[in-house]
Symmetry: C2
DNA sequence: TTGAAAGCGATACCAT
DNA sequence: ATGGTATCGCTTTCAA
């Protein structure tokens, strides 16, 4: 036996020694492993690591358990824990389909903070390419304690039922629409259009264009804005003209090119970005803003203040994340409570130079 | 007994009858319930609902099981399933701390699509207010098959070890830094500054300001840009001057106010938004762009093309989400594989009128 | 103060 | 073609 080489037959060049992989990909340590190493039972491990008050463990044991856990790199298994517990503190938020503005993502991040303070775990679930009830089922599989749906469109009353039957104590929508069975944190986007329309009327404008982005997925956001303008204008004899516009210079140039033919004296441009785009195109076409045509946007972007004339805008303000987190928490604690509807959005008009 | 009123003593006005709550908040149905209702065993339910090939179930039974599941509104319990299976297909992505631009969120959304096509479930985990290894432990509790970290800063080598020991088959960082033990999808942000610096030098500029946003959380993004400019300038005798700027008109006006004293003939302004802000302030101060001072940004925002002069910029291009998803998938399938580093970012210079 | 054991829900092996 | 059952990791009575 002495002459049998200890090394494998292949020359080492063929299988170069891998650099050491310190975290050996061995089996994942469980609380049983910790118990074994510490010389105690799994129950004790659980008591120590969860600081269970109802039971007294000697400091010596505590230390041994802690050290064993540390040494093994033990991390409890959330699925097992919540399976046993019968519930979790997960708030599920499907990731919005449409691209979100800075306002909204700021808001989301605030909300996450606030919910975390209330000891919830916020999880954004990527539901791209699922529709309606399929998505609801996928969310329900995770057994979240609450579901918060930003945006619009995907949830049906059936979906709400599925979620609630699967243990969700609260289902809330955050958007322009109300869904049967769910709490509604209502953003009445028509208000934005209404403010803009009213303002333009006050400025004496009578033939009002309304930009409708041609990008897909923005319809649920642009539709209500348009309706709002129509509401504001109703009965005044003024005219409202929807205008398709893609978020590209060429599209804006084309629209500006046929502008004089449209006979409009004002335009509400969906938001500040579209407004800036269109205003520039109009100016390049020799159309005076606000002389020939008044322009107004929405969102009160800082960048809108940089153009000349400075862009008038409808400023949006959302309920604070903290407030909203409280609403979620209340809905979770009292699932039987009335399905209150809250207005989450307030708007105000910032009149600058473009209108 | 006949005279004992059936109604509770309180007048009904005091506790008005609640509207019916259709989805009775009863216990959540399990596969055992389905089995009972269909008159089969839980095993059979599992076979039917998972379309298990290896076993033949009569069509009659299939239908009965399906109908029972439908009637009860049964949804499988993801935690139980993955506990049993010993693994999940979850890709965990901590939500980035710093506010993200449109470029990045577009990219994230693409990536989610692509990963879903590969049958992964993407989950963004809100880790606000956790630092370093605490966060890593929290992520590890979910036992994701892969962890993808956007941005910078939070992960340590210890964190990587924790994640891998807890069963993560791949840990990838997506940002300017490399972390020991993790795959690096490297965005060398210095390249952005380098391009800008080189361009300004070519234009004959020698005293270059570099805007550093004073907003917190942007340091890891702005630092490398500044370094890149310094690299480009090194040995040319040109000067580089960091300039703090907050994203507000007042801050920009203040900086513009002391501009002549700074003696600069060019400025790279972190990104297009800051560049637009500063350029406008300079112009308002009577400083000619690009005559007195050249201005360049980054990101190639559409809005940057609207100012006059049109804003020069460094365009960023990220690897496609599809490509990236493939990398994640490969890392998962071959966890032992070399820790490859990929360049995810490519940059190009778009010279317009402001430089 | 600690341990033994039941059970959360779903799956897959081994019988029938 | 189906059913019984052990098992995943953890918490929590109940006993000792």
């Amino acid at each position: 036996m002495a002459h049998i080489p200890k090394q494998p037959p292949q020359p080492s060049a063929q299988r170069p020694p891998r650099p050491p992989r310190p975290p050996a990909p061995g089996p994942v340590p469980t609380s049983a492993d910790v118990a074994r190493l510490a010389g105690v039972s799994r129950a004790t491990v659980s008591y120590v690591l969860n600081n269970t008050e109802a039971v007294r463990i000697s400091d010596a044991t505590r230390r041994r358990v802690r050290e064993a856990a540390e040494e093994l790199g033990y991390v409890p298994h959330a699925a097992a824990r919540s399976l046993r517990a019968g519930h979790s503190r997960m708030v599920l938020m499907p990731t919005p389909q449409a691209p979100v503005g800075p306002l909204y993502s700021q808001f989301i991040s605030e909300l996450q903070w606030a919910l975390r303070r209330l000891d919830y775990t916020v999880v954004q679930y990527g539901s791209v390419g699922m529709r309606g009830d399929d998505a609801a089922r996928a969310w329900a599989e995770l057994r979240p304690v609450a579901v918060l749906l930003p945006g619009a469109g995907t949830l049906t009353p059936r979906g709400v039922t599925v979620l609630k039957r699967s243990g969700a104590r609260a289902v809330l929508t955050l958007g322009p629409e109300r869904v049967e069975g769910a709490h509604a944190l209502l953003m009445d986007l028509r208000e934005i259009g209404h403010r803009a329309g009213t303002h333009l009327l006050e400025r004496g404008r009578r033939r009002i264009g309304v930009v409708v982005p041609s990008e897909p997925g923005l319809d649920t956001l642009s539709g209500p804005r348009l309706d709002g303008v129509r509401q504001a204008v109703a009965g005044t004899g003024a005219r409202v003209e929807p205008l398709r516009l893609a978020y590209e210079e060429e599209s804006a140039a084309a629209l500006a090119g046929r502008w004089r033919g449209l006979g409009l004296d004002a335009v509400f441009a969906y938001n500040d970005a579209y407004a800036m785009l269109l205003m520039r195109a109009l100016q390049d076409e020799g159309i005076d803003v606000p002389g020939d045509t008044a322009v107004i946007g929405a969102d009160d972007l800082l960048l809108g203040r940089l153009l000349r004339p400075r862009l008038s805008t409808v400023r949006l303000e959302l309920l604070s994340g903290e407030r909203l987190a409280e609403l979620v928490d209340r809905a979770v604690r009292d699932p039987g409570g009335a399905l209150e509807t809250h207005d989450v959005l307030t708007t105000s008009l910032i009149a600058r130079q473009s209108s």
